[in-house]
């Protein structure tokens, strides 16, 4: 249970930092504050009843039943001496009085606020269909627990709606469990949004090679249930009707920003806008010294990329949390300029990505071979390298991060010993800048 503000006699002096969102970002920010010598009060407010846990394993080992949801709790590096309010959502922010309102009516004052409320799974748009038993998404521990139980009950067929990373990982687990799975993707290939058409096509071959019934350029017309409200069938745009007991809605994430309505902060679908030091920006474009943003809920200007960047990756959450803590402790001295980077494991393959391949206009394999499922592909935009994808070559990526940071021209002349001969540069459909 969360304690009471009153029992903290030894820390009445000093500032009070309130962190809203008790997950990866919140935990790492609290650690970084204490690690940086912060001696004031720290309060973590989290809507979920659980202390911080590891989301990435939810769609991987937990789903596969190889790890219990209870084991996902994250370790803490050091004593946080924090005050936890779990199971409490923040519902309003008043910047003038520096007060939060929680869903139980508590008013919580702060000196500094860190907004780390992340995202939630996008729901299936048809509310009646979304309410059918067996229609699920996967963002939280409780989601994963339920889906794992349903997979363990060996459904006739699993439907995965959306072939992004989470959807593809769910499909991978289904195949690992030897379950029939249909993946429906509106675009031409899985992972295409993040990695472009070319890598998406390769991912599609990987999925099909593992027995996934992958249907691209296809959409779900209707989810149909029985009299008891249980999902039974799916109607697809290709005319097929499939018997399914479980549908996993993997259509991406929505930022948890509604509670900030009326706060005067600059917010849109990409999240809460902040400056490179994680200071929230108000609707007049001014950074607020006392309100910070980090993790999946944030968007900010990155020196290497046009517009605002919103990154939903583990690594970014951790790094941005540390920058936010630095700003709280020392002011605007350390900018968040880390390159986006993330990993995914699916179908026995290690995928690592650095930069923003989704914005590229060209791609080229520079090392290894796609056929042998071990390669590095670099992505370019406007003649500069902006991203790289390493498949089963996790030791290669650091060098590419370096090339991206130094804005090397694309394709870079590497003369790598394991370069394909010839190196073929492929054009990609140019996505709009963020």
């Amino acid at each position: 249970m969360s304690g009471h503000p009153g029992n903290r006699g030894e820390h009445v002096v000093g500032e009070h930092v309130v962190i809203v969102g008790a997950s990866l970002t919140g935990l790492h920010a609290a650690e970084a504050l204490r690690g940086g010598g912060f001696a004031g009060r720290v309060t973590l407010v989290g809507a979920e009843p659980h202390p911080p846990y590891d989301r990435p394993s939810l769609s991987k080992r937990v789903l596969a039943g190889r790890m219990s949801a209870d084991s996902t709790g994250l370790p803490q590096r050091q004593d946080l001496d924090a005050h936890w309010r779990l199971g409490n959502a923040a519902v309003a922010l008043d910047r003038d009085t520096k007060t939060l309102t929680l869903d139980d009516g508590t008013a919580l004052g702060f000196d500094k606020l860190l907004i780390a409320t992340g995202t939630r799974a996008r729901r299936w748009p048809d509310t009646a269909e979304a309410a059918l038993t067996g229609v699920l998404s996967i963002r939280t521990r409780d989601d994963a627990l339920e889906l794992q139980a349903r997979l363990a009950a060996r459904p006739r067929r699993v439907l995965v709606i959306g072939a992004g990373f989470v959807g593809s990982e769910v499909a991978s687990v289904c195949r690992e469990l030897d379950l029939d799975v249909t993946v429906v993707e509106r675009s031409a290939a899985p992972l295409a949004g993040a990695l472009g058409q070319w890598a998406g096509a390769a991912a599609g071959r990987l999925q099909r090679g593992h027995g996934v019934d992958l249907r691209t350029e296809t959409s779900v017309l209707a989810l149909e249930g029985d009299a008891d409200g249980r999902l039974r069938r799916v109607r697809l745009s290709d005319g097929d009707v499939l018997d399914v007991d479980v549908a996993v809605v993997a259509l991406g994430a929505v930022r948890n920003v509604e509670w900030l309505a009326g706060s005067g902060l600059a917010i849109d679908a990409r999240g809460v806008q902040c400056d490179p030091f994680c200071r929230a920006v108000d609707t007049d474009g001014r950074p607020c010294d006392d309100i910070l943003v980090a993790g999946d809920v944030a968007c900010w200007p990155h020196p290497l990329y046009e517009g605002l960047l919103a990154v939903e990756h583990w690594d970014n959450a951790v790094r941005q949390a540390r920058v936010a803590a630095t700003t709280i402790l020392h002011g605007a001295v350390r900018a968040h300029t880390a390159l986006p980077t993330f990993w995914s494991n699916q179908f026995g393959v290690n995928i690592k990505v650095v930069g923003v391949p989704g914005r590229a206009d060209q791609v080229a394999v520079l090392q290894g071979s796609v056929e042998r499922a071990a390669f590095v592909a670099a992505y370019g935009r406007g003649g500069r390298i902006i991203g790289a994808l390493a498949v089963n070559t996790p030791r290669a990526l650091d060098a590419y991060a370096e090339m991206i940071s130094s804005r090397m021209s694309f394709p870079p002349d590497l003369n790598a010993a394991d370069a394909p001969d010839p190196i073929r540069v492929l054009d990609l459909a140019v996505p709009a800048a963020g």
Partner: protein, 87 residues
């Protein structure tokens, strides 16, 4: 005791697998998997794994969250003192 590997840093060197095969495993060619809540009996092995990781991607510590000492003065030794669990 909880373990977390920063898989964005991890380069699948597999040194942790040598140090603590009870906890870490390379599955497939390059995919690291691990038991994030291992039993205390593997503590020394876990320390070996953390020390051996070439990119220092392994964090060990008590589960985060409100403990019985929530709101009380520090009782948990900072993990930065690597020998804390060995003493």
């Amino acid at each position: 005791m909880r373990v977390m590997v920063d898989l964005a840093r991890c380069q699948s060197y597999g040194q942790c697998v040598f140090a603590a095969p009870e906890i870490f495993e390379i599955s497939g060619r390059e995919v690291l998997e691990y038991d994030s809540a291992p039993s205390d009996e593997w503590r020394l092995h876990l320390e070996r794994a953390r020390a051996a990781c070439p990119v220092q991607a392994i964090t060990i510590g008590p589960a985060a969250g409100p403990g019985k000492d929530d709101g009380q003065p520090s009782t948990v030794r900072p993990a930065a003192d690597s020998m804390g669990v060995l003493r």
